[in-house]
């Protein structure tokens, strides 16, 4: 029963990936990111039958940070400094969506060939992890809006987290330590920088950041 729950949740994540590829507004991306953050951080509760107290605390902390704190702070940031809401794509939405579909199919095909015993119960764990990771990379490269890039980075981290929590107990420990530090620090610094980009350039369109070349 729990397995079906996991796969159901993950299928929603895969849908949200497609949504991320197609959405043109930053607020929509924030919602997608928050949803993925919440789902990714509750998955461990379903696949590990008896978790230690430490692991439970870490999982809840991740849930709070990924699902609430980060989306909320980005939401506040764009409201406070009136950042442009359009994600200014480099690759168009139709092409992005098409890429997204191809990505999910490819991830599903690849994961059938991989020999990972610990996740053989759930069909969608590995495809979802890879899809999230690549979606994050894609948003980083194919969107000019700095906030959209930060959101892409967090999706990438969600992908890594999902991958780590599902691999093994040892991998989970690693992912917990690493990712918390990473997310907190990365977002804090990026927020500061964004603030300044805002002040200096009056906008967060990174295409304005083209004075330095090569």
């Amino acid at each position: 029963m729990t397995l079906y729950t996991v796969d159901t949740l993950l299928s929603l994540v895969l849908l949200s990936v497609l949504f991320a590829f197609g959405s043109s507004r930053v607020p929509a991306l924030i919602k997608v990111m928050a949803f993925q953050g919440i789902v990714v951080s509750i998955i461990p509760f379903f696949i590990t039958p008896d978790m230690e107290t430490g692991a439970v605390i870490f999982t809840i902390a991740t849930l709070v940070i990924r699902g609430v704190l980060i989306p909320l702070s980005i939401h506040m940031a764009i409201r406070k400094v009136a950042i442009q809401r359009d994600v200014s794509p480099i690759v168009g939405y139709h092409a992005s969506l098409f890429f997204g579909l191809g990505l999910i199919v490819a991830a599903a095909v690849i994961s059938r060939y991989l020999n990972i015993p610990s996740i053989s119960d759930s069909q969608l764990l590995f495809p979802a992890a890879i899809s999230l990771l690549v979606t994050g990379m894609f948003l980083l490269m194919a969107r000019r809006n700095a906030i959209a890039m930060v959101i892409g980075y967090i999706m990438l981290e969600n992908g890594i987290y999902l991958m780590g929590t599902t691999f093994s107990v040892r991998a989970r420990h690693i992912v917990e330590f690493g990712i918390l530090l990473d997310v907190l620090a990365g977002v804090m610094i990026m927020a500061v920088i964004l603030q300044n980009i805002k002040q200096t350039f009056d906008d967060v369109d990174t295409s304005l950041l083209r004075t330095l070349k090569e």
Partner: protein, 479 residues
């Protein structure tokens, strides 16, 4: 005891934020001296770490640590002169983060646990980002943004690589601790497919930080926008730290018998970087960016040497040491040029030999050293790498390498001649530099270059033995 080496600068770094400016300048030099003494003590007798599971003293770590210590001490002396001549708005933030940067880099050299190394490399990004943003201009902001973003993605890739390593442990039934020293003896039991995947991700991840092409795009911006002492640290030390991550992982690969696979990957990335540097260095108009591209070239050479193996690894380690010494001296000299001519463009400098003779000596000697001229160590390193390449049958790699070296030398030489001897393009616009070459602003460069020169002819036994030990661990040697 081992941990003291990075705890000390961490504490003084925090202190530097709150102390008065003059005191924190002194603190910078003092910490540099204490750090140097502490790392020399590590050389003398190797104590056990308090947390032996996470930290350990390794030959390659010792080498990098000594380079870091010496460089930081000299750069700190330069910084006192630099800060006296060049007002910074937020000096305390600058000195504080310099010290924190030192602390995180020291932690990289001493970490043994795979995740501690990862956290330390991540922390170097955090500690150095404010240094790049010191001037608070639009361009420095752009450079910082690029640096943080690209390096964060890189570090995320390295985390994926580390995850794959745990998976290969799981599948191979290895229960050892997740540290480099514990994994190397049991490397043969690791699942090879996932180990390979992990290595690729780790090379891409740490390679981003090391400045290997095509992930190098942050490097020229960051190096040209950071204040010169910080550029010297970035180029001379930070890149080595990232290389250390690849080096240590390569150790596991070699122990697992996958040295052919890892070697090929390193050769490809190395050659790509060298060729990319050769392409871009020809049309550089700014001297600090030119030096940055030369760093990319040298990191490529180091990766190439490591990939070729045998004598090449020895050459790579030699290149690493001498590149740090010479390149940091060049960046310090470029700081003098910038303060003198108040311009980054090569076209707006000129006749430095006449107008800033002491800086000229340091800059020109550094140029000769970095281009691989005989009295400096890079010559020996490059020679070893070329010999190893021919010996092991990597003819194509050797030819591309030699050709690129010639191109880079030609491009570099042309620009250096313009800076040193030519009259400025527009004499009206370029006034003679108004700049006093105080001892603190030239002696650090002289000492760095002299060290490189001496090490070329005479290597102390302890140092030689450590280099050989480090090289031996990844299948290299003097044969």
């Amino acid at each position: 005891m081992v941990e003291m080496v990075f705890i000390t600068p961490f504490i003084t770094g925090l202190l530097a934020f709150i102390l008065p400016k003059a005191v924190s300048r002194q603190l910078l030099v003092l910490t540099g001296a204490v750090h140097l003494v502490l790392s020399l003590l590590l050389w003398k007798n190797t104590p056990r770490a308090w947390f032996a599971e996470y930290f350990a003293v390794t030959p390659e770590g010792l080498l990098s640590l000594l380079v870091i210590s010496l460089l930081f001490f000299l750069i700190a002396i330069y910084t006192t002169g630099y800060l006296a001549a060049h007002r910074l708005k937020s000096e305390n933030i600058f000195t504080g983060f310099m010290l924190l940067f030192l602390s995180t880099m020291t932690m990289v050299t001493l970490s043994d646990h795979i995740m501690v190394l990862w956290i330390a490399i991540e922390a170097t990004t955090l500690a150095s980002a404010p240094l790049i943003y010191t001037h608070r201009s639009g361009a420095s902001l752009e450079a910082t943004w690029k640096y943080v973003l690209i390096c964060s993605v890189g570090i995320a890739m390295a985390l994926v690589g580390s995850l794959f390593l745990t998976l290969s442990m799981e599948l191979g039934g290895v229960t050892a601790a997740m540290s480099f020293s514990a994994l190397t003896p049991v490397a043969g039991q690791l699942d090879p497919a996932w180990l390979k995947a992990g290595f690729i991700f780790i090379v891409v991840g740490y390679g981003t930080k090391m400045g290997l092409a095509p992930m190098h795009t942050w490097l020229p911006d960051a190096h040209s926008e950071a204040p010169s002492p910080a550029s010297a640290l970035l180029s001379g030390v930070l890149l080595n730290c990232a290389y250390l991550g690849i080096f240590k992982t390569n150790k596991i690969m070699v122990a697992a018998g996958l040295s052919d696979f890892s070697g090929t990957i390193l050769i490809v990335f190395g050659l790509l970087s060298i060729v990319a540097a050769a392409t871009y260095i020809l049309k550089q108009t700014e001297y600090k960016r030119m030096l940055a591209y030369s760093s990319i070239e040298n990191m490529g050479i180091i990766a190439l040497g490591t990939g070729i193996g045998g004598l090449g690894v020895y050459g790579a380690v030699i290149c690493m040491i001498h590149h740090s010494l010479i390149k940091s001296s060049l960046f310090l000299s470029s700081g003098n040029i910038l303060m003198g001519y108040k311009d980054r463009l090569i076209a707006n400098t000129g006749q430095m030999a006449k107008q800033m003779p002491k800086t000229f000596v340091a800059f020109f000697a550094g140029f000769a050293g970095i281009s691989g001229f005989p009295p400096f160590g890079i010559f020996i390193g490059e020679l070893f790498i070329i010999m190893a390449a021919f010996k092991s049958g990597h003819f194509l790699a050797a030819i591309v390498f030699i050709f690129s070296l010639c191109v880079i030398f030609a491009g570099f030489a042309g620009q250096v001649m313009k800076i040193c001897f030519d009259a400025p393009a527009d004499t009206e616009k370029t006034p003679a530099p108004d700049f006093r070459e105080t001892p603190a602003l030239v002696w650090p460069q002289y000492i760095l270059l002299l060290t490189s020169l001496i090490l070329c002819f005479f290597i102390p036994d302890a140092l030689y033995q450590t280099i050989v030990d480090a090289v031996h661990a990844i299948g290299g040697g003097l044969q």
